[in-house]
């Protein structure tokens, strides 16, 4: 059985080739250097290692280089890939979306889903509004372009801009909107802000400010809120 010193020496011995090639970590290189200073046999063996290193490099350098054929063959292969392989790969939308979705946390996904649902409901409401209250026409099937007039958002009412905290769950947001009798009418805007209607009537400035202040108090889910037009 080897003693601790013998084991250590054997360990150092196995590291000599990497020390000669300069590919040891600083810590191991220091260990080897220290051992080489103290152990003459090891130092002699290190000289043999350096000899092997030099001749291995010499041997490899005499092997020559590949001809231009290798590069030509590669480029031909790449061309073939370009016209066949790469074009053949069809775009898989489901896989693409799946891959992107997997990057988000469940909470982010839940919040995104709520936003999407709200957007759909809002859009449906707007379309229904356009359909039913078409000015100057009682014909329900009147054709309109997709760009709805901004007036349809309903200028009457009181509005606020609101941003929710990343921790806010879909349930929290729904509960919050219900508690304040508010509804999302637009968004998300840059910065993740939403335009919400806090009243169907135009409230006096002070009343609107009081509602906004109340909302600010719910700091667990509200990160920003301010009155807006």
């Amino acid at each position: 059985m080897m003693t601790k010193n013998e084991t250590e020496r054997r360990d150092i011995e196995t590291l000599l080739p990497w020390h000669a090639a300069g590919t040891l970590s600083r810590r191991d290189a220091q260990r080897v250097e220290a051992a080489l200073k103290e152990d003459r046999d090891l130092a002699r063996q290190f000289e043999l290692v350096r000899e092997e290193l030099g001749e291995t490099i010499h041997l490899n350098e005499t092997l020559g280089a590949p001809s231009a054929r290798a590069m030509e063959r590669l480029l031909a292969g790449i061309e073939a890939e370009g016209t066949k392989g790469r074009k053949r790969q069809s775009f898989n939308l489901a896989a693409f979306i799946g891959e992107r979705m997997s990057m988000f946390s469940p909470r982010t996904l839940a919040w995104s889903a709520v936003t999407a649902v709200l957007a759909i409901v809002l859009q449906a409401g707007l379309l229904a509004n356009l359909y039913i209250n078409e000015p100057g026409s009682e014909v329900p099937s009147a054709y309109k372009t997709a760009s709805a007039p901004t007036r349809s958002l309903g200028p009457v009412g009181s509005y606020a801009l609101i941003g929710f905290t990343p921790q806010a769950s879909a349930a929290d947001v729904t509960k919050f909107l219900e508690a304040h009798k508010a509804s999302i009418v637009e968004g998300p805007k840059p910065g993740g802000l939403y335009r919400i209607r806090v009243s169907t009537t135009a409230l006096p400035k002070n009343d609107l400010a009081a509602i906004v202040k109340q909302m600010q108090n719910d700091s667990k889910i509200v990160r920003f809120v301010a009155a807006t037009e």
Binding site: T56, L63, A70, G77, I78, G82
Partner: protein, 186 residues
């Protein structure tokens, strides 16, 4: 001026940049070729294989995770390709070739000594090592790969890398001794 890093080149290759592919090829093809040639011992085959190695890089660049150096990745692909090519050869041919190579330095030690060139004998003994030993010696001494990198390329544990290198050197010493060169180790 600083040359574009290998990792940056791989990023550009992933987007289909052929010039980046040519730069990477120019930078590494000779070393990869020599590594493969030492394994397959056939120049034409080695040239074909390096084209395949770099074509794989073209295809897989988007999957490169930069957990290892690009040169380590290239050598790992090259090794896999070389071994696959060797496996396609008849076993008999492989055995004959290895046997012939191992007999080389021991054939006529006196003649070898007459050359009075220790370096030449050493190089001859290096070519006579088994493919396994030749490979590890090349990776450590010529390709300057660390213990961890060799482990990654060859697919063996780090401790096995160390012991394999030790025994490769020991075998080299035996071949040298047979050729009349006594080095006092092991």
């Amino acid at each position: 001026m600083q040359a574009t890093s290998d990792e940056a080149l791989i990023g550009r290759i992933a987007t289909g940049d052929k010039v980046a592919m040519q730069v990477l090829f120019a930078r590494h093809h000779v070393r990869v070729y020599r590594f493969v040639l030492r394994l397959v011992r056939d120049q034409t085959k080695a040239e074909d294989l390096i084209s395949e190695v770099f074509l794989d890089v073209w295809r897989q660049a988007g999957k490169f995770e930069a957990r290892s150096a690009v040169s380590t990745w290239l050598l790992a692909i090259a090794r896999y390709k070389a071994l696959s090519a060797l496996r396609r050869r008849p076993d008999e041919e492989l055995d004959d070739e290895t046997a012939a190579a191992i007999e080389d330095p021991g054939d006529d030690p006196e003649t070898a000594l007459e050359k009075k060139d220790k370096g030449e004998i050493l190089r001859k003994c290096l070519t006579a090592l088994s493919p396994e030993h030749r490979e590890i010696i090349d990776l450590v001494y010529y390709h300057e790969k660390s213990v961890e990198e060799v482990a990654e390329i060859v697919g063996i544990p780090e401790n096995t890398v160390k012991t394999r290198m030790f025994y490769a050197r020991k075998r080299l010493a035996e071949l040298l001794k047979a050729a009349g060169v006594e080095r006092g180790w092991p």
